[in-house]
């Protein structure tokens, strides 16, 4: 067993692009779930429309920057479409409609009927060349020892974490403002908020759209990193991972999702390395065990440490009805 084969990939994973993307997706869920109390179980749907909006635009001759705007616009529209019929109803409806819609979007991207746009199961590739063309980092490898990245990788990583910083700052400003206070009041008791003159529905809609746009950014980042969009990347399990990231880091903490994502990817890759190197297990079994552990981890966190790594117990369970 080579310890290096376990540790170094884990460190790479913790600072890699997927970790940044899941931090973004979870930052979005934090606005929804952590601050507003909305149960959006279809965050992957926002990632999907972001990524496909970008890829389809470029595929049809548009520039990449326009594609990114289209992707964000698509997330805004999806947020409105999801929110308008459900946000006036009990919380459970949103949960069901969001998970269903995300899955249906995935099925739609697979269909033959739309394959003119989406290229069906094959997906769209190589639409982010513009992004790599403007890479200012000179060729070469950067890093220390086994934890090193190519100039191309480093470029995406820097932009990805830059985006995470920007979105975190935006969240910070918003949740410390009176606007954020209204969101929190909705999470605590929306009838109370209503009785004090707050238009709960409008704020929920804003929250859903904002967090959805963060999700779209996550999707766009992942798509640009891999230069490909493919229906089977957008499974419901992605949303569940994002929830695990959020709960791990601590809901309703601005930097919770960021910390959560780094720790999540570190642990996930460590588990992978230990199973492969230490137990000589094959790929399929390792995958199943890792997925099962994520599920178990989400349950245990929710039960024993709902405040996450950095939260306080008191704030999480206080009069929790």
């Amino acid at each position: 067993m080579d310890l290096g084969n376990i540790v170094f990939p884990a460190i790479r994973a913790a600072i890699g692009v997927p970790a940044a993307a899941y931090a973004l997706a979870a930052l979005g869920l934090n606005v929804h779930f952590g601050y507003t109390g909305l149960s959006n179980f279809g965050q992957v749907g926002f990632m999907l429309v972001g990524a496909y909006g970008t890829a389809i635009t470029v595929d049809n001759g548009g520039p990449l920057w326009l594609g990114v705007l289209v992707g964000i616009g698509a997330a805004v529209i999806l947020g409105l479409l999801l929110g308008l019929p459900t946000l006036r109803l009990r919380a459970d409806y949103l949960a069901i409609v969001t998970i269903a819609t995300a899955e249906i979007l995935r099925l739609l991207t697979r269909t033959q009927r739309l394959s003119g746009l989406t290229k069906g199961v094959f997906g769209i590739q190589r639409f982010a060349n513009d992004f790599y063309r403007i890479n200012p980092i000179p060729d070469g490898r950067y890093g220390i020892g086994q934890v090193s990245f190519s100039a191309r990788n480093l470029w995406v990583i820097l932009v990805g974490w830059g985006l995470v910083a920007l979105v975190s700052l935006l969240t910070f400003l918003l949740v410390r403002s009176p606007w954020g206070r209204v969101l929190k009041s909705i999470r605590e008791d929306e009838d109370a908020a209503r009785s004090l003159g707050k238009s709960v529905f409008t704020y929920k809609l804003q929250s859903l759209v904002l967090g959805g746009v963060f999700g779209a950014l996550a999707g766009i980042l992942l798509a640009i990193d891999t230069q490909s969009v493919n229906p089977d990347t957008y499974l419901a399990v992605v949303t569940f991972f994002a929830y695990t990231v959020l709960v791990l880091g601590g809901p309703a903490k601005v930097l919770g999702p960021v910390l959560g994502s780094v720790v999540f990817w570190l642990l996930l890759q460590l588990t992978d390395g230990i199973l492969r190197e230490g137990f000589n297990m094959s790929g399929g079994d390792v995958g199943a065990i890792r997925f099962a552990l994520v599920g178990l981890g989400l349950m245990l966190l929710m039960i024993f440490r709902p405040q996450g790594i950095i939260g306080t117990r008191e704030g999480a369970v206080l009069d929790d009805r």
Partner: protein, 259 residues
């Protein structure tokens, strides 16, 4: 009746399944006075509150607030117009501090708009003014020491006080209190009653629900009694207390009416 009622309700009706919960033909709430809405448990008082404040939709009926038809106005809009309610089971926001509970309630905050929220200099001055007002109110209700505590960590009585103070942050013209004295110890009840009278003396109108008749007699200017969804009597406290229908409604059920 009164020359200038603040609230006029006509033909209000709400059924659950086949059960008639509220069926009020006509009701007026006089301005600048304390009106008590009394009645045995299940008389439809809370449902009436929910309907008038926009928290439930009636099957039929219209009502006017300050001369304006508000039958189709949403709950938040009504609150912004000056009709602010509290709840029978207090609804403090547990994982927010007492001060945050208060600040939230201030109306028309610029910083509550998405884009303005991003620029603190836009809303800081107004926030400072609200903070000042919140501190005064908390002091008045004896909660200033609790300012930075989680609202969820407070006792039942303190929650009642906070809810009332918070409602005042909205600057209501009509304050609607749903059983403000329920589950509160006798000492605090006295203090709550004192607050209610003081508010009236400042020129606010108060409508409050109570099922215990003795509590309301001392402070109310006017009493409305409901039973089985209907208004069975209204008038001065003395008139209502001696009304046969009221006596029957209470005596007929007195054994199940909690103190």
């Amino acid at each position: 009746m009164t020359a200038d009622p603040i609230l006029v309700v006509d033909g209000l009706r709400r059924t659950f399944g086949g059960l008639v919960a509220v069926d009020v033909e006509h009701l007026e709430v006089p301005r600048g006075a304390i009106t008590a809405l009394i009645g045995p448990n299940g008389a439809g008082k809370t449902t009436f509150f929910n309907l008038v404040t926009g928290f439930d939709r009636p099957d039929a009926g219209t009502w006017r607030f300050n001369g304006r038809d508000v039958s189709h106005t949403s709950a938040p809009k009504l609150a912004r117009l000056g009709m602010v309610r509290t709840f029978q089971l207090t609804k403090v926001l547990p994982r927010m501090t007492v001060l945050e509970n208060m600040l939230l309630a201030a109306s028309n905050q610029r910083g509550e708009r998405f884009l303005a929220a991003l620029v603190p200099s836009v809303w800081r001055p107004e926030e400072a003014a609200n903070l000042e007002r919140a501190r005064e109110l908390l002091a008045r209700f004896g909660l200033d020491a609790k300012r930075d505590d989680w609202a969820g960590s407070m006792s039942g009585g303190q929650r009642k006080l906070l809810e009332m103070a918070r409602a005042l942050m909205v600057e209501p013209t009509l304050l609607m209190l749903d059983e403000p004295m329920a589950g509160v110890n006798p000492a605090l009840t006295e203090s709550l009653l004192g607050h209610v009278t003081a508010l009236r003396d400042e020129g606010r109108t108060i409508l409050f629900v109570e099922h215990d008749m003795d509590v309301v007699m001392s402070i109310s200017d006017r009493v409305v009694c409901m039973a089985q969804g209907r208004v069975i009597a209204q008038g001065t406290p003395d008139q209502v207390a001696n009304d046969d229908a009221v006596i029957e409604a209470y005596l007929g059920r007195s054994h199940e009416a909690p103190a």
